[in-house]
Structure formats: C-alpha cells, structure tokens
Amino acid sequence: MTSVAATPAPRARPRGPRIGRALKPVVFVILLAPAAWLTFALLTDRLQGDVVKIIEIDTGTLALRSLAYTLAITPLRQLTGWSWLATYRRMLGLFVFFYATLHMLIYFGLDLELQFGEIWASIAKRPYITIGMVSWLILVPLAITSPNAIAKKLGGARWKQLHRLTYLVAITATTHYLWAVKKDTFWPLVYFGLFAALLLVRLVRLRRTASTTRS
C-alpha cells in the first residue's frame, strides 16, 4: 500500500494487513479526539484557568506524544513482525505536524496576540522559543514529502535520508520542552529517555544488520 515505508516485509502475514487497515480510522479518531475535546471545552468554557496556556501546553504535549508513537512504530514492527504497522507511520507523523502547528499558532496568535515585535523578540531572545521554531521548521519538509507521489519522485533512499530528521526533531522538541518548564523537569526527561531508548534500539539493529551482511 504505502511505498514510503519501503522495507520488505520479513514474513507474509496474511491477516495482519486487514486488521491494520480496519483499525486505522479508529486510531485516526483517537488521535484527533483531544483536539476536538479542547475545541469543545474552550467554546463551552470548560477549561478552568488560563485557557490559552492550557490549550497551548496540551497541543505541545500532544505533538510530542504523537512523535513518540511515530518513532515507536518501526522498532515495534521489527520486534513483533507486524509489518502492517508500517502503514500507520505516515498518519502518526502527520499528527505530529498537525499538533505542532496548532501549538505554534496558539503561541503566536493567542498567547502573543500576533504582536509581531513580541513574536520576533521571542524567537530571537528566548532560546526555548528559538529551538521550538527550529523543530517546527524541520517538520515542514517532512510533512510536504509525505504524499506517495512526492516520496516516489524523491526516491526511496533520499526520502529515507530526509526523514531521519525525525530524530533531530525528537531532540530539539524535547529540549524546547525542557527549557520551557520551570522546575518540573520530570516529563521532559521522560521524553528524553524514551527517545534515547528508541534511537538506541534502532542503532543496535542497524549495527547487527551491518555485521550480518558483512559476514
């Protein structure tokens, strides 16, 4: 189906793809549900407190969480042999872009109220905003190259190389989170640990395949 995750399926699992395809709309709805809830809660005055801060922080967290799901797909697929998982990767990745874009628009539009002086000053002066902005900019080419046609035009190898930037985003986005919080560094560090573990799994795997091909 998707050529983008062009790793050959290790074993044929006849029933897998069907389950995977059937569940995809469900996963889509689950991932979109927080955005729907936040919109509803905002419009009906259900958010108690600093409403803009609440939706700003929530969309940021949702972007990071989607990123964790995206990066977990390949190791999980290799671990379980469920090749159909690969078809989820693009959808999850686009959710990262969706929530990160919302997060940024809320910050510039509602938090800084589109005061361009403030926006520019925040990007230039505040390192956590600078690195947040960088993270979003890295996501842009990844989102643009996600349609099959464009991926095909780009070529598998180059596409793959480009999309390795996802790991860079994992680092910059988590740094943004760490620098944005006051003293409550628990969750940023959890994400750091998680991303480090996922990267490690991939590196170990890479080295193992490299050594087996050599021998």
């Binding site: 005055d45 108690q48 407190g49 600093d50 409403v51 803009v52 801060k53 609440i54 509602l110 109220e113 403030e118 000053a121 925040s122 505040r126 956590y128 620098w179 944005a180 006051k182 003293k183 409550d184 560094t185 628990f186």
Partner: protein
C-alpha cells in the same frame, strides 16, 4: 453596598459541616461585619485601589471556580489542577504558627490566638501571577501589620522570613525535589507592615480552600503570586535578607522583591500584559499591579530592574 454582596452566601451554602466546625472563626467574622460597615470609609479606600470609580472593564471578580481550580502550589503537585485534587484531606486544624527571631513576643501561637485580637476584613485585590495570568479575588483576613506589631520586633529586625508547613505525609509534592522544602518567602519589614499586606484566612466569603493556602496565607497584591506564601507555620524576624525558595531555584528568573513590573521581562516571557483567568485576550499589566500610588514610596531610589 458592594462589599456585602460578596459576603452574604447563597442559601445553598448555609452551615455546611466545614463551616460548622469552623464556627469560632465564623462568629469572629460576623462580629467583624459590623465593624466593617462602621469602618466603611476605610474599607472603601482599599477597594478604591482595586475597583476604580466607574469600574473598568475586566475588573469584575474572577469566577471562584477558576481561582480554586488553577493553582500553583507545588506541595500538592506541579500541575495546575494538582493542588485541588491532592489537598482535600489536608488537615488545617489544629494549627500553630511559630513566631521567632528578633522580636520580644516569641512563641508558638495557636492560629485562633494569632488572629483573634484583630478585626477580620474583606479586601478585593488584583492577583498577578509571575506566569502572566491574573485574577480579581475577594479575600478575607487580617493585616499582617497587626501580627507583626503584636510580635514586637526588636530594632535590629529588618526582614520577616515566612515558612510553609513541611509535612511530606500530607503534602505529596514535598516527597520529590522539584524545589527545596519547606517553601520560604520573605518581606522587608516595611513592606510587611504596609496596610495592603494581608494574612488571609478566607476568600469569596468562605473559609480559605486548602488548594488556595488554608488555613493561613499571605496576600501582597503588588507582588507576583509566588510571594503569597501558603499554609504558613512560621514567622521569623531577621536582620538579613532571606533567600526565598524561588531565588534559590532560579535566581536569574526570580528576585527577592518580585514586584509586579510590566517593564522588566521574565527571561522566558514578557510581563507587559496579563490574561485574566477565563479571558482569551490580554490587558496591559499596571506598574505594581495597580497599587503604585500606595506602594511606590517603599522603593523610591531603588533600581527596580536590578531589584526585580
């Protein structure tokens, strides 16, 4: 009269159990209502600072629900909704406040004894969090100056250092080290003696909710919210400037004075404008949170950019 409107509880709130248990405080409060009416002119003067004649837009009281659901109180957790969720079983009676340091009347004071000589007052103040959100809150309490006068500080006393309860068994946040415990704050003695400085025991005409700092918290409306230390157990008179918890945690971001100042940015955000809880748009933050006329003289000649 404006004050009474907020004092009279709706019929649905007549004598809930908690209020019954705090009936002594309630009696004191009823007694003080007459006094408030009598001293109407004085109270009005305080209110005048908050609600200028022809009340400005956005100066209405903030929803009680928002003020009691969105709190920074790390002792009960670092998320804004944690304090409400985790503080409901917090024991606020019996409660003792230790008065110590450079003063004549040292000792452990039961809370009622600390409060009872003073007349309980209602004050509507603006509240400005360092995170650039704000509220307008009707507090109830006694002037901090009263307690200080009764403690009778020695001539050498220049500051008052204030401590929150340390009790990890009741305060789950204290079991982890996000900041150092117990929470410490401090004021220069002349700041502490200022008539705006309040020791609050209630808000919205009720006993202070646990998540808002029961049974006793500080309210200094011209300073950022984190100066308003909660669950106070200790007042210590000192001759040197105390190091507050947030100074210790990040001295480049939080200073001793922490006066609301729209011209001095926090390193991570602008302090020029604030958003009232529940609002979508920000409004300009006034100097000293709108109390410039009352408190500016405390800082005359000081560089407020350095002494942030």
């Amino acid at each position: 009269m404006l004050i009474r409107k907020h004092i009279e509880p709706p019929s649905s709130e007549i004598t809930p159990e908690r209020e019954y248990l705090n009936r002594r405080q309630f009696l004191g409060m009823v007694g003080s209502m007459g006094a408030i009416t009598a001293a109407g002119a004085l109270t009005q003067a305080v209110l005048g600072a908050v609600q200028p004649a022809g009340a400005q837009q956005g100066e209405e009281l903030t929803d009680e629900e928002k003020v009691t659901s969105y709190n920074n109180y790390y002792e009960f957790g670092t998320d804004k909704e944690d304090p409400k969720a985790n503080s409901q079983r917090f024991r606020t009676r019996p409660w003792t406040v230790k008065v110590e340091g450079l003063c004549r009347n040292k000792g452990d004071m039961p809370l009622d004894g600390l409060l009872s000589p003073s007349k309980v007052e209602d004050r509507i103040y603006r509240f400005r969090c360092v995170e650039a959100w704000s509220a307008v809150i009707p507090w109830r309490g006694i002037p901090l100056a009263d307690v200080i006068r009764r403690a009778d500080p020695l001539p050498g006393a220049k500051f008052v250092e204030i401590y929150t309860l340390l009790d990890p068994s009741q305060m789950p946040g204290q079991r982890s080290g996000s900041i150092s415990w117990p929470y410490v704050e401090g004021l220069r003695l002349d700041e502490a003696m200022h008539p705006l400085a309040l020791l609050a025991t209630g808000m919205y005409g009720k006993t202070l909710p646990n998540q808002n700092g029961a049974p006793l918290r500080l309210v200094v409306p011209w300073k950022y919210g984190f100066k308003n230390i909660k669950a106070i157990v200790r007042l210590k008179f000192t001759d040197s400037q105390p190091t507050s918890t947030w100074m210790r945690a990040a001295s480049n971001e939080y200073g001793f004075y922490a006066n609301v100042n729209p011209t001095v940015d926090h390193p991570r955000w602008s302090q020029a404008r604030d958003r009232k809880l529940g609002d979508l748009l920000r409004k300009p933050t006034p100097m000293f949170n709108g109390y410039e006329a009352q408190v500016a003289s405390l800082y005359s000649g000081m560089d407020l950019r350095r002494n942030f």
